[in-house]
Symmetry: C2
Subunit: 650 residues, 2 copies
């Protein structure tokens, strides 16, 4: 099986004087993932050494690791006390120990040798989840890294790759995963039935060993499509009984199953609306069915009218999640979590933070991000997403005095995974920084995006300074560059319809998705202030004042919130049109610069990785040029205003 | 098998006094299609009568038909002398007789009784061809009428539907058919090999019986893909030998095979360019291989750069067929025919006539039309194409004094078929008017488009005056209505990419297909006059003068040939922008009017047909509204000019 170990591909330590790695722990831990990880790491880091268990051969040529479960620690908490001869790792459970082991190995790998340090940590976010949009036929919705490794031709697959997946995710800090697409199609509906029982049990146990809770996306209409009933009405007693029995069987055989993730009444998926019920009716019905097993229902808030008439200027898709869920605040059971996309639209390169985060006092919330780069270059363009995720988690909602940041309001975070069955897991090797960084950030929110990038670079490419500096520069400037050469000032949706790749300024302008820029020869943007659609009023007063007026609104979101003439002056001092031209030229130049930086690393990166990433950069540069020229041309044709600097606009 | 008989669904004659239909002919004709057609028709027209052969029971209750082959007539020529008791039909061959029988039956069906008349006719166009874009997997490229009835899951199918196909086509006057897509994919490549030998022979014989010559689209790279050679270089002796042997086997076993239709070096299809050869090298090589069997090579001129950079304003796709083929005039063998699309682009609702028709003195030419309504509403919108085809065939090229009309320059005409395996053959019943009308027009160019429509209406719907008048009105005004509410003034390409349905004004603007409108806030159109791309200079002087200047250019082609401001005054006296608004409002109203006309026929048309056509009209009205509002909105946003009449523009 051909796949990369990514950040778990340890290099040999500088100091090879240790000939023995002695692991000391209770019998309970002897076959744990924590011990496996130490053995795996030792094989790479100390290839000459032998690994012993509880040996008394402790001398200068030995390195001793003591693993202990301490009940006074919380489940995922750990304590490390390391020296150059001996390390003690305590955890609140086998998983706490495992996290301690990963932390110890990471530090050792980064230093290149055993060092003295202590570390005590409790993961920042309690629920750190991946959502895989994998279909049972093996395809992946919005997948840019090959096919699914969970599903192949309708079968659920558990093999060495799945083990590696669990190791990678656990080492990055992920503790929950949803293995199938929120759009539940084909055989995936039968994950609820007996058909997948054996392999599902095997997968569930494998994940449990690495501290990863299993979630499934069920078809809300499963009572009909799987159970053969005539209704899926959440208040129908037959439907309730069906789910009760279904959950009883499922959760009894899968102790590591933690619940369901549900996309209901959205983009054609079935849901409670068909029966005149609301989202609380739907979610609570399922919540009661999973409650006896400690299960959780995660319910997506991505609900909007996807058959809008473009002529209708009153309906505003940005309003819809709030309008739909705000009235239900307080009506959800305590084992329901609402999963809210980071912005009100759909994973654009720039959106305001969803107003729902500041609006649902009495409801459990999760934030949803998208590592799969659907609208951000599809893993052909490098876009390091961790700074954006960190910024959003740190975003102050002003909903209450203290601790009003998104990251503190939510009880967990999910992200659509960017993985697939290709060699490097994520299409381009550089996109693994998002996978790693996402987990690490949720695990330890005190880390900066830059620190995380540096960790990832060192673990992936080693300690060469030139590689470090150049890859770091690429990653840290990548999001701005992409935003610069694509969609200006928060406007969104200037991509090609359906596949969402490459520029098409009016590709979504006359369609049914509620995605309009309303550009004409005089002005551009949708007015979402109080005089417009009123979207800005969904925020707390501080933010409503900020976003609601053209004067206060931050430049980068101006065209999301307001309709202004091309000659409007930004806070930066530039006009809107000149800003568009400047950023598009600059962004493209950045893409060229990234490609050149990568080219200069040819001798320092392994051949396969170098070639794969180079091919992606070629495509990024080609596509960035299209973006630059098409967006500039579009606005020039409309505005008739020339570039102040006289650059070529087609 | 569920399919309509279309115009061959004869009704009972008014006068039912005839109890016997006596057919008299030589033994050679006894089993001919002509006799079959008489028997088929008799079963519908005279259900009480018996059909006898050479009976002597000739009395007042008998109707006698004498069929004779007369060698002094040309093959497809026929002579009819009909009275109310006896009809003599002479033909130059069994096919001439068959055409005479169809003419006699048509006249009888239209009159509703036997009448006295004489008719002598030679078909106007010698080669009257359909091109089916059917793939071997059963799909049809640009098919809007279901799947293929020629191919199903890789198999060639010959059944009762194929017989009906042959009857319908022969009765409309078609005498040649290409059964597979010009883009030769999958198993279709093996039509050249032994794999299809048996069913191909069966199909070929069936078609022969109805006077329809069989053509096949071969893969130009067949020596490689079928033959296993390493090259398809037309000057390579191994390649030549391979084709020679292939044709020897194929033509020997298929006496009705008349040749190949080839799409080479176009949109990714293989061709001679790969070997540094030109189109004449490629076509002549094949021509020599089919020559011993009287075969013909039809070579498409649809060749252009389909990877154009939209920034490049010098390259003009409209020029490409002429630029590519004009230098080769005189270099093609005498059994090569170049097949030229009616316009220089690709079957848009309005294009100028291709300049190639006036430019290839020393080369055999055919004109290619498209009955499949790829860009003209995909058989959801009613667009009667016969007036356009007639106009183009009557178009004076001014290449020589007399007989310089396209229809007189060409040695044949082809059209992409609009058929499929649905109940009514053509998606909507009304689109059968195009299939029938196309054949009839080529068979008898003296007929007007209106006469043909009237024939078709009467044969399809019977003689109800209201049905006649309303359907005729719909058909005759349909093309103008569609043009009015879609793309103005010859501009083209404002449809959605790929599927070519519905409006997307800039869907093709920044793409690689050479299809740009270059609209901006001041002006619209590509300048193709002498000061522009020079496309207008490809015409004879008279036409170059007409098209080359803004002053002379006909309104309906103005934006094809010229870039003008929105305030430019047309010959009609309207400005360009007001013309756009007016036609879009009027065109939509026409679509609504058509739908209302059809609705009023509910009691007069059979239920199934009524419902199917009504559903299409609903879609036409919906889509016409999108076209009206999006195109008007597009030009209003750009121009900023309001509608003089104050109508709502979004």
């Amino acid at each position: 099986m051909d796949f990369s170990k990514l950040w778990l591909g340890y290099k040999q330590l500088e100091d090879c004087s240790k000939k023995r790695l002695i692991i000391s722990c209770e019998h309970d831990l002897k076959d744990s993932a924590a011990v496996d990880e130490l053995k795996n790491a030792a094989a790479d880091m100390m290839p000459e050494a032998i690994v012993l268990w509880r040996s008394e051969l402790f001398d200068d040529a030995s390195y001793l690791i003591v693993l202990t479960v301490k009940p006074e620690l919380s489940r995922e908490e750990y304590d490390i006390a390391a020296s150059d001869n001996i390390t003690e790792i305590c955890g609140g459970s086998d998983i706490g120990v495992l996290y301690g082991v990963y932390a110890f190995l990471r530090r050792t790998a980064l230093e290149g040798r055993f060092v003295s340090f202590t570390e005590h940590h409790i993961p920042s976010q309690p629920l750190r989840m991946l959502n895989h949009w994998d279909n049972s036929d093996g395809s992946i919705e919005r997948g840019y890294s090959g096919n699914s490794f969970f599903f192949r031709d309708g079968e659920l697959v558990v093999d060495q790759r799945t083990v590696m997946y669990a190791r990678l995710m656990a080492s990055a800090g992920i503790n929950a995963t949803v293995i199938n697409n929120v759009n539940v199609r084909g055989l995936a509906k039968h994950l609820l039935s007996e058909s997948y029982a054996d392999t599902l049990t095997e997968l569930s146990e494998l994940l449990r060993r690495y501290g990863i809770k299993l979630f499934i996306c069920p078809d809300f209409a499963a009572p009909i499509t799987v159970g053969g009933l005539e209704s899926a009405d959440p208040l129908d007693v037959n439907v309730i009984n069906w789910w009760t029995q279904c959950c009883s069987r499922l959760f009894s055989s899968l102790p590591n199953l933690a619940g369901f993730l549900v996309k209901a009444d959205s983009e054609g998926q079935p849901g409670p609306f068909a029966y005149g019920r609301d989202h609380a009716d739907g979610a609570n019905m399922l919540a009661k069915a999973v409650k006896p097993y400690g299960g959780t229902i995660i319910w997506r808030c991505f609900v909007y009218n996807c058959t809008q008439d473009w002529r209708d200027e009153k309906t505003d898709r940005a309003r819809s999640a709030y309008d739909c869920f705000k009235p239900l605040d307080g009506k959800f059971d305590d084992n329901v979590i609402l999963q809210v996309k980071n912005g009100p639209m759909d994973f654009q390169v720039r959106e305001p933070v969803s107003p729902l985060f500041g609006a649902m006092d009495k409801t459990n919330l999760m934030a949803e991000f998208q590592l799969a780069q659907e609208y951000t270059g599809q893993q052909k363009h490098v876009v390091y997403l961790v700074p954006m995720i960190k910024e959003i988690l740190a975003h102050k909602t002003h909903c209450k005095g203290e601790n009003d940041e998104v990251g503190k309001i939510v009880c967990g975070v999910a992200a659509v995974a960017n993985t697939g069955d290709d060699h490097c897991w994520t299409g381009t090797e550089l996109a693994a920084a998002n996978l790693y960084g996402y987990g690490r950030l949720l695990f330890d929110e005190s880390l900066s995006a830059e620190q995380i990038a540096e960790e990832w670079i060192a673990l992936t490419f080693g300690d060469d300074k030139e590689v470090h500096d150049k890859v770091l520069e690429i990653l840290m400037e990548s999001h701005k560059a992409y935003e610069d050469y694509t969609v200006p000032l928060g406007l969104g949706w200037m991509c090609k319809p359906n596949n969402h790749y490459g520029p098409d300024p009016w590709g979504y302008e006359f369609d049914r998705w509620g995605t309009y820029n309303r550009a004409d020869r005089d002005a551009v943007g949708v007015e979402r202030g109080p005089e417009g659609t009123g979207y800005s009023t969904q925020y707390s007063k501080e933010l409503a004042d900020l976003y609601g007026s053209v004067e206060n609104c931050p430049d980068e979101l101006l065209l999301f919130f307001h309709r202004v003439p091309y000659t409007h002056k930004l806070h930066s001092g530039k006009t809107v049109i000149q800003h568009i031209y400047d950023t598009h030229f600059e962004g493209f130049e950045k893409a060229e610069h990234f490609a050149a930086l990568w080219d200069s690393l040819e001798s320092k990166v392994d051949e396969k990785t170098f070639a794969n990433v180079k091919e992606r950069f070629n495509e990024q540069v080609r596509c960035a040029k299209e973006w630059r020229d098409i967006i500039n041309c579009f606005f020039h044709r409309l505005s008739g205003i020339d570039d102040e600097k006289g650059r070529k606009i087609y």
